[in-house]
Symmetry: C2
Subunit: 334 residues, 2 copies
């Protein structure tokens, strides 16, 4: 028996069950009676909403993070932990890696620890094969799930994200407007966010009536995208005769590799080669020249994740999808 079962038996949405448990005024007396009858009939109190009935919960949010040493996720972890703590919630952390089985175990583990809600950090949690996402649906039957930078159409699952497609489109348009014609796109991931970025690259070309040369799309395995490996790959592409006058990357670290390639081949940046990164991380000030990059609004996203989660736990009506717009921060590499 869980929230999902109660909502199904009462014939109302999970949000309505939550509102009833939190004594929200936005529920009819009839609905309230129906829901309470189911709950009283089963004797079961869903943990996440026990507080609404005057019971104590652990006031803990489970954070599932693929890799806390990834700079983007490390920053997100700090923002999320601080934001939840300010609202009186602790964070239980589980780093799952990229492996699907480990993720399912991570969710199981957090459930066994009676967390009030789960945050899945990063769109790598959304698999292409729907069957592989069953663990998210299963988790959402017990507690609210909020996704960092992803969406997932399922009741009790919420997403707060940056519009990566739009942000990449803006970056491509900026390069095309400055006279660049062949933009090499380096990317790290085929997950939801990665696909959105790639779609932005394509869409910006289509809108200008330009064909996309597939040879300009260059994928790096996660463990093969170090600065030196990117540099070596670009040297090899050049040797094969591939021409490009700009590099746009799905993460700043890949752009650092592109700048290293430029130095190795004595191509001047930005005169002969423009480079744009993504994330607007602290790396941008470390390179020479400094790196133009897309600010994907991570702080605002994390603050909205905690606000969304706590709003749901308090039985408020919360948006299932929240989308921020990225912003191109121009530095010396363009």
């Amino acid at each position: 028996m869980n929230i999902y079962d109660i909502s199904r038996r009462a014939g109302v949405s999970i949000a309505t069950v939550s509102r009833v448990l939190n004594n929200s005024p936005h529920v009819s007396e009839n609905t309230r009676r129906k829901v309470m009858a189911v709950i009283e009939g089963t004797g079961y109190v869903p943990n996440a909403f026990a507080r609404g009935l005057g019971l104590n919960t652990m006031k803990t949010i489970g954070l599932l993070c693929p890799d806390a040493s990834d700079p983007y996720l490390a920053q997100a972890l700090t923002y999320l932990e601080r934001s939840f703590r300010q609202q009186g919630y602790d964070c239980l952390l589980s780093c799952t890696g990229k492996d699907l089985r480990a993720r399912q175990q991570g969710v199981d583990l957090l459930k066994s620890r009676h967390v009030d809600g789960i945050v899945l950090m990063g769109s790598s949690f959304i698999e292409n094969d729907p069957a592989d996402n069953e663990y998210i649906r299963e988790a959402a039957r017990n507690v609210p799930v909020v996704l960092l930078n992803a969406t997932f159409p399922c009741e009790n699952v919420y997403g707060v994200q940056c519009d990566d497609q739009q942000a990449v489109m803006e970056a491509v348009r900026y390069l095309l407007d400055s006279g660049r014609k062949r933009i090499l796109f380096l990317y790290h991931s085929n997950n939801y966010s990665g696909r959105r970025k790639l779609a932005g690259y394509r869409e910006a070309h289509v809108q200008r009536g330009l064909a996309v040369d597939e040879k300009l799309l260059c994928f790096f395995e996660r463990d093969k995208g170090s600065v030196h490996q990117v540099c070596d790959t670009l040297l090899a592409l050049e040797k094969e005769g591939l021409a490009f006058d700009a590099v746009l990357t799905s993460e700043d670290i890949l752009s650092v590799g592109a700048l290293k390639y430029a130095r190795a081949t004595k191509r001047r940046v930005p005169e002969e080669l423009s480079v744009i990164g993504y994330n607007n991380s602290s790396l941008c000030a470390c390179t020479e020249p400094e790196l133009t990059s897309v600010d994907n609004k991570l702080l605002a996203i994390c603050e909205h994740i905690s606000a969304t989660m706590i709003g749901v736990l308090e039985g408020k009506e919360m948006p299932q999808t929240t989308v921020f717009t990225g912003e191109l921060v121009k530095r010396a590499s363009t």
Copy 2:
């Protein structure tokens, strides 16, 4: 009533109480009886050792982290979480910031959540004023405390660290051996680790019979050590007539600022200026030229932290201090 009280009443060490509770063979029958009499008299079972009595604990380690977005600590967080999880322990994370009150609250919070042990991440947890460290003693009366990169002389407190003094001495000697005479030392912190690094700088000079010019010691407040602020500070020092032919820094990010200064003044690195960082972080491959840096053995330290903690929880005799030796990783900046 806590472990400390039991050990005091039984007149034995905390480690002995732990050994009794874990049925260690290394306890005399007489001691065992004494300890069990105290425990049975009070009816109290210290949470951290309940497992030794066949009871279930939460199998959770509390991690107190000043700032999870600091690259060194973010990496440590990943290593610690993975290492504890492989041993069947979850990690509860609390990011305290640098504020003393927040730390004490963080420890209280972890205690209230019945963690089996606490890891204090980084030597910034050790204050110069002994009275300010009372919260660590208090925590250690309840559960084992393991310090990342620090030591603290107190029962039930363990430390796993890199010998930062030795590592900085090696770096200074390397610079002096290569003909450098005036080594600017940029540092971020006056905490235990920071003071050890500074002591290494001084000691290396003393050993060579060289006086230390205090003007070459340059402190940066934590929030004023960005790449650009470091660059501006070095430009100002040069304008004031301060001469230096090498820069050694307590963290890689400060060295990135030094490289930016070198570029701004067209000083060639390493021909006219040698630069050495600390932490051997991923930044080292991002700069131009790439950065020579001290590898302070973070992975090994984190693995020993989890081994030490779990050993203590299992009633094994564990070393109170474990020290690794740093290693200078040479790249193009020297």
